[in-house]
């Protein structure tokens, strides 16, 4: 490359013809600004953007600051869980569900076990039922706490994030006590639970339910009537009642739009009809109402936990059926019959009758469906997860188009996505 001399018309410092001091220009004379009027901008958000809550990628067309079009791209975390499930026994599927919606692993474990039990026609024990309610509601609290924390960070409030994660940590300690794992709990088995709760668990849970509402009150105090929070969320991402139903939304997204539909009330399972709790329903269908619904659900989950812990009946956690439940290890080592059952279950798995079963449960994110199709062998022909946040996320384009880019962040946060479940 040849050396190029650049001729710059710099004024020498000193005095000009009139005797006035001249100044050296600090930069070259700016070029005329190009005319940007009417030109749309392509902005790529993600897949590693902190405000996308995981590996979600949004290709956004912008006109100035207004979102014209949102094209979501998902699948970066696709692991083929449904395919893997076709090669596993029903109990071996349970660890896979830890990794779908990893913010509420225990509730996923319950969902898949219930679907397998419906397929096999198993009735679980009263103690197991209450333990599963505890598992589901603990999951709802930690999932909503993560949602609250990350959303408040997205919208510029850092403090509630710390409070929320502190409460989540307490539930994680309880989960660790119960299952030995904080995240990958695998707490259920077809026909029962992996383990009974340990000594001291009930006391700690009782202590949690006593002190937890105080944190919620603090979060409520900081956010609900906060002008910045309300300004960023009220009237943003509105979905009407009809649109929410037509888009197949579920969970807090559906209820914030004014549809009073909660599977715990409308299709009760695990004896939810015997607990005293309310289902919060929004009326505007915007981000603010979704926040209010989730915050109130935390109070209600706490109520359910407090009731469940008091009514926890004594008795076995597993059904009395050696064909589905592994015998205790001590018996399997000493008793011929128990050893044969142990061998058959481990080697062949539990055979399910021909047919199919769908069970939907109210997960923190919405209706988690597990659909099993069996051909009579120990492995399902098809295992389908109805992923609530996948279906909820599909509405993001409709909510964000025509809004500002900053609203897109609030809207995306309000869907409460978890990519492990969306991509499966």
């Amino acid at each position: 490359m040849s050396k190029r001399t650049v001729e710059l018309e710099l004024a020498t410092p000193g005095l000009d013809a009139q005797g006035a001091p001249t100044r050296v220009p600090l930069a070259l004379a700016p070029e005329a600004e190009p005319d940007l009027g009417g030109e749309h901008l392509l902005v790529n958000l993600g897949p590693q953007h902190p405000a996308t809550h995981g590996v979600l990628r949004l290709v956004v067309e912008l006109d100035g600051e207004t979102v014209v079009r949102v094209i979501p791209h998902i699948g970066y975390l696709h692991s083929g869980f449904e395919k893997l499930g076709e090669y596993r026994h029903y109990n071996q599927i349970i660890p896979l569900t830890d990794r779908t919606d990893y913010l509420s692993p225990m509730a996923n474990n319950v969902g898949v076990a219930m679907a397998a039990e419906k397929l096999m026609g198993i009735e679980i024990t009263p103690r197991c039922t209450v333990l599963r309610v505890i598992a589901c509601e603990m999951s709802r609290i930690i999932s909503h706490m993560v949602w609250l924390g990350t959303t408040s960070i997205d919208l510029g409030a850092f403090t509630p994030f710390l409070w929320a994660f502190q409460e989540r940590e307490r539930i994680y300690n309880l989960q660790e006590m119960w299952t030995g794992a904080r995240l990958t709990t695998s707490v259920t088995r077809v026909g029962g639970m992996m383990a009974d709760i340990p000594d001291g668990f009930v006391e700690q849970l009782r202590e949690f339910t006593r002190t937890y509402p105080k944190t919620l009150d603090e979060i409520d105090h900081v956010l609900t009537r906060n002008a910045v929070w309300a300004g960023r969320t009220q009237g943003v991402g509105v979905l009407t009642r009809e649109a929410a139903i037509n888009l197949s939304l579920s969970g807090p997204m559906l209820r914030a739009s004014g549809v009073a539909y909660d599977l715990r009330k409308d299709k009760p399972y695990l004896g939810y009809e015997t607990y005293d709790f309310d289902v919060p329903v929004g009326e505007h269908g915007d981000v603010y109402d979704r926040y209010l619904v989730r915050l109130e659900e935390c109070y209600q989950s706490n109520r359910i936990l407090a009731q469940a812990v008091e009514r926890l009946p004594a008795g076995p956690i597993n059904v009395d059926d050696p064909r589905v439940i592994l015998p205790p290890k001590s018996r399997a080592m000493s008793d011929m019959e128990a050893m044969i059952y142990h061998f058959k279950q481990v080697m062949e798995g539990v055979k399910a009758p021909v047919g199919e079963a769908y069970v939907g449960i109210e997960n923190p994110k919405g209706e988690l469906g597990n659909y099993f199709v069996s051909d009579g062998t120990a492995k399902p022909v098809r295992w389908r997860i109805r992923p609530p946040s996948f279906i909820n996320l599909a509405s993001i384009a409709r909510m964000a188009e025509g809004r500002l880019l900053s609203d897109l962040i609030a809207i995306n946060a309000s869907v409460d996505i978890v990519m492990g479940e969306i991509d499966r």
């Binding site: 539909y261 469906g369 389908r384 509405s395």
Partner: protein, 205 residues
């Protein structure tokens, strides 16, 4: 048995196939050609009003003789009634069903996922692209029974393809046409896009 099945039979006659009651859930088989009108009727007919689409999925059986099924889960929210509608397809034949996105907007991504995983085409879908796999994925349809668990290509081949994929594979032509972003692309990339060579894997030497 869900009373909607009898009503369906009187309205649509031979378009309604067998109906089963499996563990308390009603399953009804519908002829593929009549699916859109049956679904519209189920959504709108007074007394039935299945306004809510829970899920759309497909099932392929290990038994090669059995048909591939597309499964629609419908729900009437106000009266807690569920109905499962199935359409049978010949796995060796034409895997095409009419889309129901015009009835339920929520079916959009669900149908895309079924297309992605099973290769079933939904006629009339506004934007039928792969969703979980990337758009240039060319190993087939992962949830079909003839698809091996570990995929068709070896790990090294998959890595090679991933490394050699041209960068424009990350954007569709439609996305690049936003604004005048395409003018800012390097000339060779623009040339490849013009010829429709999006995301083609270059042969390694």
């Amino acid at each position: 048995m869900n009373p909607s099945v009898a009503a369906l039979r009187t309205t649509f006659g031979s378009a309604i196939g067998r109906a089963l009651d499996v563990r308390g859930d009603t399953i009804v088989y519908v002829q593929r050609e009549r699916l859109p009108e049956v679904m519209r009727w189920l959504r709108d007919a007074p007394g039935h009003e299945y306004h809510y689409l829970v899920d759309v999925t497909a099932v392929e059986y290990r038994d090669r003789e059995r048909q591939l099924e597309v499964v629609y889960f419908l729900r009437a929210l106000h009266r807690q009634a569920d109905l499962r509608v199935k359409v049978e397809l010949d796995p060796a034949g034409d895997l095409t069903v009419d889309s129901i996105v015009s009835l339920w907007a929520g079916a959009d991504w669900l149908e895309r996922e079924v297309y992605d995983m099973f290769g079933i085409t939904f006629r009339g879908h506004p934007d039928l692209r792969r969703i979980l796999m990337w758009e240039t994925y060319n190993e087939g349809y992962p949830l079909r029974k003839d698809f091996p668990l570990r995929g068709r290509f070896s790990r090294s081949e998959q890595v090679r393809q991933a490394l050699n994929i041209s960068p424009e594979a990350n954007y569709s032509m439609e996305e690049l046409s936003i604004a005048d972003a395409s003018d800012d692309l390097p000339a060779d990339m623009r040339e490849r896009l013009r010829k429709g060579e999006r995301g083609r894997v270059q042969e390694s030497e």
